[in-house]
Subunit: 389 residues, 2 copies
């Protein structure tokens, strides 16, 4: 039994239309989209994990935008990426624009925070109900597939039996594909942006980010104090990741070889006490800022958990072969590659599409022309909306 069985009433309101219109209006005035409902679903059972362990009664934090209609056939699931949250209205607002992929008038849009993350769902910073202690570094490997199975339980508790659409970029796209494979009868359409199983270069980047965090003396084997988290390590990890989120051309265009806009001189003899450090270039100042921004909103162990989830995703794992996995899919898939993506290069995305097609899936492929690299699915939402229009 779900602890939130009353939720469907909250989101299936006859006044849905008026609320949706008001929210849409707010959106057009660039105010942030406010969820119709945001809350927690606590599994009333242990979640059996792919790795063999179980997670005791995990919490799924989720947000709902719009209302479920009487037929309960207008549910859309949006899946978030590495550092995202359930508040898709905040990080993907343009997808709710008039005529765009998501509609507050038409759809009941649901977004669930990943297990392992730090935005409300159970993660390494949560207390293990079985031990009464914080999981910390003992948090088990919770995969994309584990998450999708947990999300399915949440949707069932909301009385949702079928999704008209599952959509996501990056790790969100991994979840969308996993949904289409695991629950073929429950997914009508899936839109997947900028993703394939993580290529070797991406695994390499994850490996470096993990070291950056785990080398921070404050990490303390993962048992750090929440008052004194390993911020230097996480900031460096984020900076390493940023190199794969943007494109070299964009960096040249925006920063080039310019000195930092605060006036530091990279050619100066001494800066920060030593000749070996030097004044920063503009790109370095930008990266430092990006690192600090993430540190203010994310947890080190949660970051490590999501890295593992990302790199271990293999949709054919556990199946005899690609045919067995992809022939299960009944949804119509649209896969979008991003021309300048260096984390999931279009060559890899196209090859993945061909593999899914060879397995019998119906996959349409579109390519987004962008200089923004992997981040384009967030940075150029208007372009993405046009491409999907």
């Amino acid at each position: 039994m779900s602890l939130v069985m009353d939720v469907p009433e909250k989101i299936a309101d006859p006044k849905a239309a008026s609320y949706a219109s008001r929210t849409a209006e707010l959106s057009r005035a660039t105010a942030p989209l406010v969820p119709t409902y945001e809350g927690d679903f606590v599994l009333d059972e242990h979640l059996a994990l792919e790795c063999g362990r179980t997670l005791a009664m995990p919490t799924l934090h989720y947000a709902v935008y719009g209302r479920l209609n009487a037929a309960r056939d207008n549910a859309v699931l949006v899946c978030h990426a590495l550092s995202g949250s359930a508040q898709v209205g905040s990080w993907w607002p343009e997808l709710f624009a008039e005529g765009a992929l998501l509609s507050l008038e038409r759809d009941c849009v649901i977004c669930v925070n990943l297990i392992g993350s730090c935005y409300g769902s159970t993660g390494p910073a949560s207390v293990d109900p079985e031990t009464g202690k914080v999981y910390g570094p003992d948090f088990p490997l919770v995969t994309v597939r584990d998450n999708v199975r947990a999300q399915a339980k949440l949707l069932r508790s909301l009385g949702i039996e079928r999704l008209s659409l599952v959509v996501g970029g990056s790790i969100g796209g991994m979840q969308a594909i996993e949904w289409a494979i695991l629950f073929p009868e429950q997914v009508e359409r899936a839109v997947i942006v900028g993703v394939s199983p993580l290529p070797a270069m991406g695994i390499a980047l994850n490996h470096l980010q993990r070291q950056a965090i785990q080398h921070d003396p404050k990490w303390s084997g993962g048992r750090y104090s929440s008052l004194r988290p390993p911020q230097e390590g996480l900031a460096l990890a984020r900076q390493i990741a940023m190199l794969s989120y943007k494109s070299p051309a964009l960096f040249d265009e925006r920063f080039g070889r310019k000195p930092n806009r605060n006036g530091e001189d990279p050619h100066a003899l001494d800066f920060d006490g030593g000749g070996l450090s030097g004044g920063r270039f503009d790109i370095a100042g930008y990266l430092d800022e990006q690192g600090q921004r993430l540190v203010s909103r994310f947890d080190d162990n949660a970051y490590l958990a999501i890295l593992r989830l990302m790199e271990t995703w293999e949709p054919t794992r556990g199946y005899r072969d690609g045919n067995e996995a992809f022939s299960r899919i009944k949804a119509k898939l649209t896969v979008v590659g991003i021309s300048s993506d260096t984390l999931f290069p279009v060559e890899n995305v196209r090859e993945f599409v061909n593999t899914m097609r060879a397995g019998g899936a119906e996959v349409e492929y579109r390519e987004m022309e962008s200089r923004h690299g992997h981040d384009a699915f967030l940075a150029e939402q208007g372009e993405l909306v046009r491409l999907l229009g």
Copy 2:
């Protein structure tokens, strides 16, 4: 006065031909090339640096292969890259193959260890003769141009007034171009592989590598003990750099998503005591090995010094514009771009060539087709030799 005025005799031996033949024979038998001479040149004056400081009587460690002929017109200067040494015969052996760019019979090949490095020339680990203390983090910014000026003093001490060729890849190529600009009368031809002023992405990579080293608690503000150097930081820095030395396609081909060849399982629940670490993929095992290899042969502060030298190189710096700088060049330049280079992408190399041409330099551009990325100038020497043939 140079302290090594006797060197020309050592390298200008009438028995040169026979020595050269023997060495060439050894080379063909894949034995390492042995320098004709290897030693130190100590400047008998302070080296005035671009940054405004001086370096007290720096040592230049250099190696010579082959012999200087009577006319002293067969001198070739090879310039090394980031972690290279003066022993060009060890790291670029195939360029000495029969019919290749360098000939022990024809040329007197000289290679000088960069100031700031840790292979014999003065660097951060050296003792400052003025204070009697190790430079450490107080080592000044010594630029590519500073190095070329010091190298010119060494060559003058050897009685060499003109170079038939200056050649280098990466930071070695920066030195070759700087030679052609600074000493136009002394350079007949220059071959430059895989380089342009460092693009924004490269500056970003340097910024991350610097943090990796400086976050290592053993770094101690650069005043670490040589018995207890910050190895974790340097290893991570090297791994970060490796991502820009190889190409994503090569990584996919060689490592793909394979688990580490030692048998670790990335999908296993626990590895190394925690769910957040996980067993390594093959690419991660490879990177760890690369990091350890560098740690065993390089110094952290030297690494930081060379990073700065690399990122601060701007050939037009101090000149009114590109025209004033590049119109000085009298040498015939051959610039080679590497098709899969992500550190110095061919787009940037081509643009740089066009800038030099617009300034009046005679530049031939060739492109090396390779999947090896930036490293191709070392990893595919045979291919490079053919391209230059």
